[in-house]
Symmetry: D4
Subunit: 253 residues, 8 copies
């Protein structure tokens, strides 16, 4: 309930159309529903521009479907992340128009596509093993209304691969860079452009990568300007952050 709603309600109290007890109750009630195991936050659609996203890990498929049913009814669209193939197989029976991205492990329903924003979101990976995280980011940014392109396997061990695509880097409004091991790529990319770089460390690697700690620290210490770090393997968060950044300065348009 925003300020206008509040104002209207106060007017209804003043004019006697609304009792005080009812007004009190109304002020306390918020538009989320209680499924017993999860408070589905429909309100969020208004507040954040996209319905709640289902993180499937650690949830039973039946729970996922129940939440999905509520969200789709409210918002038309859906994004579910970290969904195994077996989840999707069952899921598709209820939602035949759902789409699955095998690498990114996402399920999407896009019945009411959002209008596409003008700026390009570019997703870059250092290696081929970083692609699943990149694909999660791609699905997230796409369904939230962004134009997305990708540039995979251009890590710093062969810097010429990246330098040969400077044109593409320069066309993007936001760049997501996904990298494991040394995590050096986002800093190099940020040194080449004047747009925000969303850096995603991955847990790819072994030994002293310590499940992604190494690239995480590298990215937090990047010397170039404009590097925004998100959690290890958090392709979803990166796609969402890129989408939020890509909506900056658009409200007046």
């Amino acid at each position: 309930m925003n300020e206008n709603g509040l104002r209207e309600m106060l007017e209804a109290v003043r004019t006697g159309h609304l009792g005080i007890g009812d007004a009190l109750r109304k002020m306390k009630s918020l538009p989320y529903e209680n499924l017993g195991f999860a408070c589905v936050d429909s309100h969020r659609h208004l507040r954040k521009g996209f319905p709640e996203v289902i993180f499937c890990e650690g949830k039973q498929t039946s729970q996922i479907i129940e939440i999905a049913r509520k969200l789709v009814a409210d918002a038309g669209n859906l994004l579910a992340t970290r969904a195994g193939e077996n989840v999707f197989t069952e899921f598709r029976e209820t939602f035949p128009d759902a789409r699955y991205n095998r690498m990114g492990r996402t399920i999407t329903i896009n019945n009411q596509p959002l209008p596409e924003r003008p700026g390009l979101v570019l997703i870059v990976t250092a290696g081929t093993s970083d692609i699943p995280v990149a694909e999660e980011a791609k699905e997230t940014a796409s369904i939230m209304g962004n134009r997305v392109e990708t540039l995979y396997d251009v890590g710093v061990a062969g810097i010429h691969r990246l330098l040969g695509r400077k044109d593409l880097l320069w066309r993007a409004e936001v760049i997501i860079v996904v990298a494991g091991m040394d995590g050096a790529l986002p800093g190099v990319v940020a040194g080449l452009v004047d747009k925000p770089v969303v850096a995603v460390p991955t847990s790819i690697g072994y030994g002293a990568s310590f499940s992604g700690l190494a690239p995480l620290l590298t990215m937090l210490n990047a010397c170039a300007s404009g590097v925004a770090v998100v959690n290890i393997d958090n392709g979803f968060g990166a796609g969402q952050l890129a989408s939020v950044i890509n909506s900056v300065n658009l409200s007046g348009k």
Copy 2:
């Protein structure tokens, strides 16, 4: 040297106005100068929209002034961070129009102010001890051409202080949130708005804050969408990232 310059140079080679040896040398020379101890990167002004910034910690004041002289000659403006008062005292003798922010420990020269961008950058702190980092961010964002407002000491232990200023949160295009100890504020702010939140952990605190590790991890794990994390105590990086984000979708205007 951009593509146009390269094209012109190739034309000069073709027309015989430029010898091949000279062309080779020219292609290798880049517009940075070598002061012996530091490669001053004037080129960066073109590439990143703002001249190189001087990180004063670990540099001698005479070195700082020498670098500053070069940068001011090239770009007119200057930002120096982590500058103690004694640095500024000496600095002012060479640059009488320099300004010092005692809390943020920044020196600025703003002879050729950049045009102000339309979007508002809001800087929020959880406690009073986080203000120095916030002030460093404020000076950085300001000199890079952003309108900045601040909202200090509104941490989650008394959440009503933050909720009472939702209007201000909603007016901003980018929000920098600075917090130490539990570092919970950025996640709460990001849950209230639909704009990017730049989260800055601070080393304020003691014990299990482990010099900022605790709030850093909190912010990386924030459940709300749109949180971009930077290094511990990195007010400068936050200001710069906010500025870069605030320039998104403006190039066509």
Copy 3:
């Protein structure tokens, strides 16, 4: 053996009813029994108000049942935690009146229910994935004689869900708050009430949550007053601590 017992024994020595050797032996013998692999601490019932609890992980089902038999014989009631379904299947054959909580993975026998304490223990979770830990806490607090209510999935990413239930928060005498990832919820709750908040970090999450380290540190650094932290995923310990707190100031009643 308490002071009274000791006094009586000394009297028996003085009156010659008890030999010195027997007195010495008696003073050393304590009422716990040795099952070979586990010292069952029946004495504990007197000392701590509830019989020893069986932590099933890493024990064979036959061992669990043998310990259970001894404890039930002594105390009538039983709580076993971290019990897989296969443990319960076998367990039920010996104890047909045992009850299993699938989510919380607890087995309970409550033949001699403790008198219920007046104060309410409220259990709150940030997300749905935190519910198993919360259920372990609920079973623990319940069997120890506490009235328990729950409020699940009200994390800080949508703070309105929590604020909408302030009435419930204010009715509780002790609040257990279970949260993974950023672990910010206990600090926010503690800022809203004037009662103790038992904070339980969970290992839910990925990447920089580092198996619960992130929310653990967040909770230890909570700025609000009255936050008591227990081990990661320790729903049992939280329930027990809440129960012990809920018995404060009751002895005179």
Copy 4:
């Protein structure tokens, strides 16, 4: 503003005694004042039972005094922690009735003593080096209206020192146990009593104590029931938590 206030306000709107604009403004205004560098939270007095406490580290003495002046005017009482002797020297000029605890480094003003709660808060330390943290806890619990006794230097290396004072342990309603190095004392104490034990790790020690990490982990892993852990060296937090626990089940009396 509680529910009653809201109800009265709504009645005033209905009866026309309050304009809608005024009602809106009123609902947003909260009773905290802005000193520019710190939002003094007078409201907290109502919400948490004690005025805000000043953490002096990292604040200038003039700032501390300004905040103190506001708080004393509102609440009569004051607690300032981590205050060096030089802070107190200056402080006393403004507040001649302030009292300083040299070991605990606290400043207190207790003009309007709170009514003393019935239950005893006992503070125990493992060694003599843990006493400063214990004294901070003592001052905190005392000014918040608790009866406090202390039992210092009874660590587990000579367990008979502790066992010899079981009577005192059994008289307390809440026990704060302060320990560095191995941090084993809280677990042993909790095994002897049936009341809550607030465990405070200290950074006392060297080497593998890693500035308090070792006792912190020990306490989180304590096998005995009823152990509530707070941050390293957080005597203040322990005193406050003990006080909040000691108010449980008293509201009806």
Copy 5:
């Protein structure tokens, strides 16, 4: 080859019974055999009083048997640790007199029992989950010629269980204490006796025990004197260290 051997060899060189080349070769040759994948160190029997011990984890059963064959031929006895049941099943076909300890996961052949040392080695555990590590220590100390007794499940959460067996503690010449979680038991035991305590942290537990880090740090920080720490879960090392300690001051006897 000891000093006497060297002296004899030099005499042989002097008397011409040994050529210089042969002497050189002899000095370089050491009595260990090369099996291709493992240098079996028979020499060790002389140097350390017991033949090399086989750590089975990560070795193929065929390799284990080949090494065992060599060692048994040289020394008569054998100790193999971390041996799964399937290893033993196959092992027994080659060595029918081998004995398996299911809990401790050790295989032993004791054809030529070492003479038993006079001092008692006592092995104590905090909980029942620590018993496997204790059994590994027991087998190790036993086969190395020590009298061993055990006292299991007497952790500090019920300190009376330990205090009730002081007599046994006082009879031992060396005490091995095995404990996970808080790891507090070795420090308490060491405070009660004047003999060396070998402390073994275990990886038993969850959450903030961090796979044994917590009890490891606790033991390294134990305030009582005479605590010798070994690696996490290293029952073998503890048994061996206890055995070496138990041979101190015996050489003259």
Copy 6:
């Protein structure tokens, strides 16, 4: 494209044989091919002396074979690491002349063997469990044109095993030392020779080896000179580094 190529291209521009647009395109195009999921870097063959190596972990066998096909077509040779037996089984169908090292888990094709360098690369392990990592290093160094010998299971617990082979140590030009647990061997070896020692920590071990962290730190702190550390379990990197070192000072020969 090296300087000569650039010079030739510029000459072609000057003589009109190459248009400016074509020159620009040529300067940007680099000889790597895009397989969709991986940029195969054939260029690398020229730049680094050996074709790209396939790290099989986390790749599908079909992907591995597709990359291999491209690399073998370009360079004739191939090295694939971390390849399970099932990968090799399928692989061999496409590449019948491929060879598999079961312990080292490497696949090699060596159709066009590189000329062998004069210097010897010696590979030493502390224990038998370190051999898989050593074998990976051996295959890597061998296919890159180095003579390799091995000396396995000579750890510091029986230092005589190492000292007995000083002659072999002194014959090598580069020594790779692979060690887990305490990781002390590289430092001891480096103290005996005047050639570079490449130190490889392994994740062999348990408890406080923390998956290789312990030997990694040991090696980084080695007091002897000439120790070059690589990542935990990185046999491939060690073999490659040894090969690169073994090519030093050979270019003029």
Copy 7:
């Protein structure tokens, strides 16, 4: 009070020479005195064979002297560790016969020297920087009645220095090995002898030694048998442990 005392007391109760109340009080009173800030544990002299030792860090000199006065009165002897020169200067005024070890920073009073045990305690260091910790160990072992010799600066980077003194190693009953950086020396020494090796990591070093963490882990992972690890820089603990070990098997003599 040992069993005999208890028996005598019970006899006095039986014969009526001791009232029951007096008996109860006597059983609870233990011979330690309360100085207000420290429980001086005179009882310990009986229990552990040496009076309590004063750890001076973090104590005021006046406190140290007060504790010392009590201890010297009880036991005649004294050991104070981590004592700065200024502490000793003041200390000497009260105890003119006190002796100061400048490197080891210990104060000793040895008025009633303990009888010397037969076995030799050898103290070995890897470098010269480890000597202060070694000297603390030396003073501790000496005053506790042990013959002590030292062998300094024989680290593994020049292994011949150690191997040249095997005779001395073989003469010792217990060996303390002090080492920082890589901490490899204790494992090498333990491989050469069949007596217990007390390993002391030191915080000497920089970078990846992480204040002693590196050598601590190395020592815990030492492959050789018979290595007993104590806390970083804990020379005192090492001396004490060596002394306790050196008393094994002596009680019957």
Copy 8:
């Protein structure tokens, strides 16, 4: 004593020119002298090609001078690292021909310069703050007989600075790369050359650089081949390793 010496000694024994006792003593005596606090290892000159180096931190100036006197007498040359200016001031009185590098904090005496090796050692830094570590490396490599050039302040945030000097990179036989913060530079350099890269992390930076842990991990995870990592801030070790590498394949020349 090498094999030849041993052979000659054995011959002397055979011919009766050397008694057996003398032979035994001779074999045990090694050419290092004992200064009481430090075993000066003159032998090392033969073994490792350069006399022992003095690490000044934690040593008294008088000790440093005494060791230096011995080393200079033996070897003519000297390198002392981590030497403060005050050390040098005193040092110069004894050694007037000593030279001081203020940035690198090294003292050198080069009376008998070693013959210069043909290969170039190039030292590269990412920033100006990394120069002190680079200068320590430079002095070390220089006095050990290497030609050294430097390329400072060419970090990846402005990658064109590095790419503009590829010619210099390609001329070097070994490259030392010194970098703090993100530590990304060595991986980028190694991707451009086919020679060994010695990577030195520095503790320059703040926050999540964790005193050099971040760049250390980055370098251990570098994807490019041929990266040899040394300890944080270990300029000396890097110079020495580069020197040892630069002597590979030279013995036959």
